[in-house]
Symmetry: C2
Subunit: 323 residues, 2 copies
């Protein structure tokens, strides 16, 4: 019954999104590393959304929402709340369309992300770093501006947009056995499920989550959404809880959820920087951390990893913090 | 008269090098950044040798030397002195051929580079961080091992190898007005001149150098080699002086040498990390630093920049030093 009430995006929505957003996004490269292949015993393929416009995959969903608005809808602009990359991406997309974008961000969000949101023309209102404060402050902002609410992940337009990433990924590889993506609110994972369940249903979708923000893992095991208020993790993009739309995809299509400790995440991040010479966020290192931790499970497989973003505060890297 | 005594590599040597090293190197990608284009007013193309095998362009010249040896010559292995990337690259190439590689490195070289040399199987002997100490210690090592000396830059095999980079660069772009590359000992610049003077003589070759290690700049102005002992700069790959072979190319084919301060180099490096999401060395940031400093000269031009390497010590980034 619940599914009927939900506005679940379809494979065709994803295809339409890809056409709509193509002029505004990069088809990001897929990189490999012989060192990391040897270390993991698997054949790893990294889809580098850190090279994406606005520095993260979230520009896919945000652009789909912004460019799908009618002229009348677009007049009042858009608004959202976000721990960072969605704010950036929505500001970028709104800027390309020439409409206003209001964003509510935790005051603790990395300064680099706040600066970048403002750089794209976004207007920031700060909240406390908890889900409850974020939602309260956002209600005020939305009432004041009348902008179209583009939720960072619990929005069918956003999920359809994120799904375009896996479509490219499959085109860029000779087939994969599994795709591992980080899970926070579940937008990327849901888009991945949406696309692969039709395009390549043989590919397992595995979500990777910080131990210290493992609400999706516990939800998956319990069979219903468990939401934490203000979990703490270096993977600051993954602190938000699942919502009904993303829970639909997680509960129906995800094969498993694996977790990694803070140290394992930072170690994996540093390994990627050092060996692949790319700048990416702590959140994006969780998939590799879980793969290295569960070596037997991935050995000999063709594994796709989604490097979700590259917007890191270079003055506050996790391994130099307090140095 | 002097030219006749020198063993100057030819365009055909570069072509032969490219065939010889192709199985051992990456054809590295060329990246662009709309942000940096806007900032500079130029059309910038970045040839990303930070993604190269062993993390730097130097694997081109080192592989050409190692794989050009006869079986008899190869038996005693190879040896060299290097501030880092050449040591790494020669160790990598020697490892691929299965012959020993002895390297003399300054004890102050980044730990990450020493670890990586050992990781490829290279045997390190440390010296003091001065040209004079390096050469004295090396003489001992060479006498003891009998290995073939592969100089980091003053070697025709090495220069021919480095020249393969610009050949790819021209194939990967629709033409360039200038190529800007860092200059230390002059190996990359010489290879660039070797290739472009035949392949695309209309392209200006400009060398970029740290103000604090500007011996090439002063040599260029004076018309003869000026060598400093132990200059200090964050661009640790660029501390070594020109030698007769590289001076041949610099004095005959380089259009100009531009310099940048330490702050300008670190600022340019951080800008590339932040905006392009790639990990590269301070040395590789000198070209962008000089372009941003001489905006009028480059505005409106198609400018190729060579990102020479990505082997940076992530625990000691120049903007967090002492933090």
């Amino acid at each position: 019954m619940k599914d009927i009430e939900l506005n679940i995006p379809t494979y065709d929505d994803m295809l339409a999104a890809h056409v709509r957003i193509a002029p505004h996004i990069h088809r990001t490269p897929v990189l490999t590393s012989s060192f990391l292949n040897e270390l993991s015993g698997a054949q790893l393929y990294f889809k580098c959304e850190n090279f994406q416009k606005a520095g993260a995959f979230k520009v896919r969903g945000a652009s789909n929402a912004v460019f799908g608005l009618s002229e009348a809808e677009a007049a009042s602009g858009v608004c959202t709340h976000s721990s960072g990359n969605h704010a950036l991406s929505l500001s970028y997309a709104a800027g390309r369309r020439g409409i206003p974008c209001n964003v509510v961000m935790p005051r603790t969000a990395p300064q680099a992300k706040k600066d970048a949101v403002r750089g794209y023309g976004g207007i920031i209102t700060e909240c406390e770093p908890s889900t409850s404060s974020r939602e309260a402050v956002f209600a005020e902002v939305q009432a004041a501006t009348g902008g179209d609410f583009v939720h960072p992940y619990n929005d069918p337009r956003v999920i359809a947009g994120q799904g375009t990433c896996s479509r490219e990924f499959m085109e860029q590889t000779d087939g994969l056995d599994m795709v591992v993506a980080p899970i926070g609110g579940g937008g990327m994972i849901s888009g991945t499920c949406l696309t692969l369940s039709t395009l390549a249903p043989e590919v397992q979708v595995i979500a990777a989550e910080p131990e210290q923000a493992d609400d999706a893992y516990r939800s998956f095991k319990a069979g219903h959404i468990i939401a934490d208020d203000a979990p703490e993790t270096v993977a600051d993009g993954l602190k938000v809880p699942l919502k009904d739309l993303t829970w639909h995809f997680v509960s129906n299509h995800v094969s498993d959820i694996l977790t990694a400790s803070e140290d394992e995440i930072v170690e994996a991040m540093k390994l990627i920087w050092k060996r692949m010479k790319i700048v990416m966020e702590p959140s994006s290192a969780v998939p590799l951390a879980t793969i290295l931790k569960n070596r037997d499970r991935f050995a000999g497989k063709r594994v796709g990893l989604i490097i979700t973003g590259g917007n890191v505060d270079l003055d506050r890297l996790p391994w130099t913090k307090g140095a």
